[in-house]
């Protein structure tokens, strides 16, 4: 999982990534349109997309909502300083909570940054995010030395990833 082979992706897959990274065409037959652009059959577009989904190169095909616009105006990045020996077991439990959308272990940056567990929590207001963070704190118990919740106050940029062809 750490170091997946890239060999499975060929030049056509990469062209397909470049052609769709800004989005899927919003026409009745989007895969036909991509096929015409790439000079391959529509069936091949479908096969390649399915293969990339199966291998995890594509996580999913779908819409990405702007959290704010759909009512989740409080967007908290909760960060936790968790005992290294217990962080993996606890991280898995926190990731399983229904209100956590992303959960990762990341390196500390001492002395400025003592936190090694990151969990994104969204809610309609800060009180709800705080209540959810309290549930995480309860779950972590004495394995956690300190935590903070960093609220976003502004989206400075959001374009999604861009790779060049």
């Amino acid at each position: 999982m750490r170091n997946p082979a890239n060999a499975a992706l060929d030049a056509v897959d990469r062209r397909l990534m470049v052609a769709t990274q800004a989005g899927l065409p919003r026409v009745s037959r989007p895969y036909d349109l991509l096929a015409a652009e790439l000079g391959i059959d529509a069936a091949e577009v479908l096969t390649r997309l399915q293969r990339m989904l199966d291998s995890g190169v594509i996580r999913r095909i779908g819409a990405v909502p702007n959290h704010y616009a759909i009512g989740y105006t409080a967007n908290g990045m909760s960060v936790w300083n968790v005992d290294d020996r217990r962080v993996d077991a606890l991280g898995a439990q926190i990731g399983a909570l229904d209100f956590v959308t992303h959960c990762y272990r990341r390196p500390r940056r001492m002395p400025q940054w003592p936190y090694n567990l990151f969990a994104m929590v969204h809610g309609p207001d800060r009180a709800e995010v705080e209540a959810k963070a309290a549930r995480i704190a309860l779950l972590l118990g004495d394995a956690c030395a300190a935590h903070e919740v960093l609220y976003s106050t502004e989206i400075l940029k959001k374009t999604g990833l861009r790779i060049s062809g």
Partner: protein
């Protein structure tokens, strides 16, 4: 900032239905529209409108760039309030910066770098540090416990 109240019930059902598993069939919009009781044209019109209004930031495949040889790294900076506009412009000018959020903390600028190769990350960081004159703290993920983007509208 958008007003959540500007979404009607059909918009919300559409957003909830379209966050994943978009079908790989010849006429996928028609297939989704049928499950929602809409016409294909109405679904496409609403999808266009949601994207134009930035209720949706994107519609299409979400790539896990690490599986394709690339890298995706969270990074943060400590930026003085009076420098925020300048630094934000400088950081956002890098195509490697996929998104950038201002957060209430001493570490007040948090962005994600996405590069086509692993080597691209330290290179982009060096160039951002040079452009802004400020240190960039990288927080690469060491372990992923969960990623699920579904939020009910």
């Amino acid at each position: 900032m958008h007003d959540a109240a500007a979404l009607d019930d059909v918009d919300r059902r559409l957003i909830n239905a379209m966050q994943g598993d978009f079908p790989l069939v010849a006429e996928p919009y028609r297939a989704v529209a049928e499950t929602l009781g809409l016409s294909e044209t109405e679904l496409l019109t609403r999808l266009d409108s949601l994207l134009a209004r930035r209720v949706l930031t994107r519609f299409g495949p979400m790539f896990q760039i690490e599986r394709a040889g690339g890298a995706f790294v969270l990074a943060a900076m400590v930026v003085a309030d009076e420098d925020l506009a300048r630094v934000s412009d400088q950081v956002n000018a890098f195509p490697e910066v996929a998104h950038n959020y201002r957060r209430e903390h001493e570490f007040n600028m948090w962005f994600v770098l996405a590069t086509a190769t692993r080597e691209g990350i330290p290179d982009a960081i060096a160039r951002i540090e040079q452009a802004t004159g400020l240190p960039v703290f990288a927080f690469p993920k060491e372990r992923e416990y969960f990623v699920g983007m579904k939020l009910r509208a």
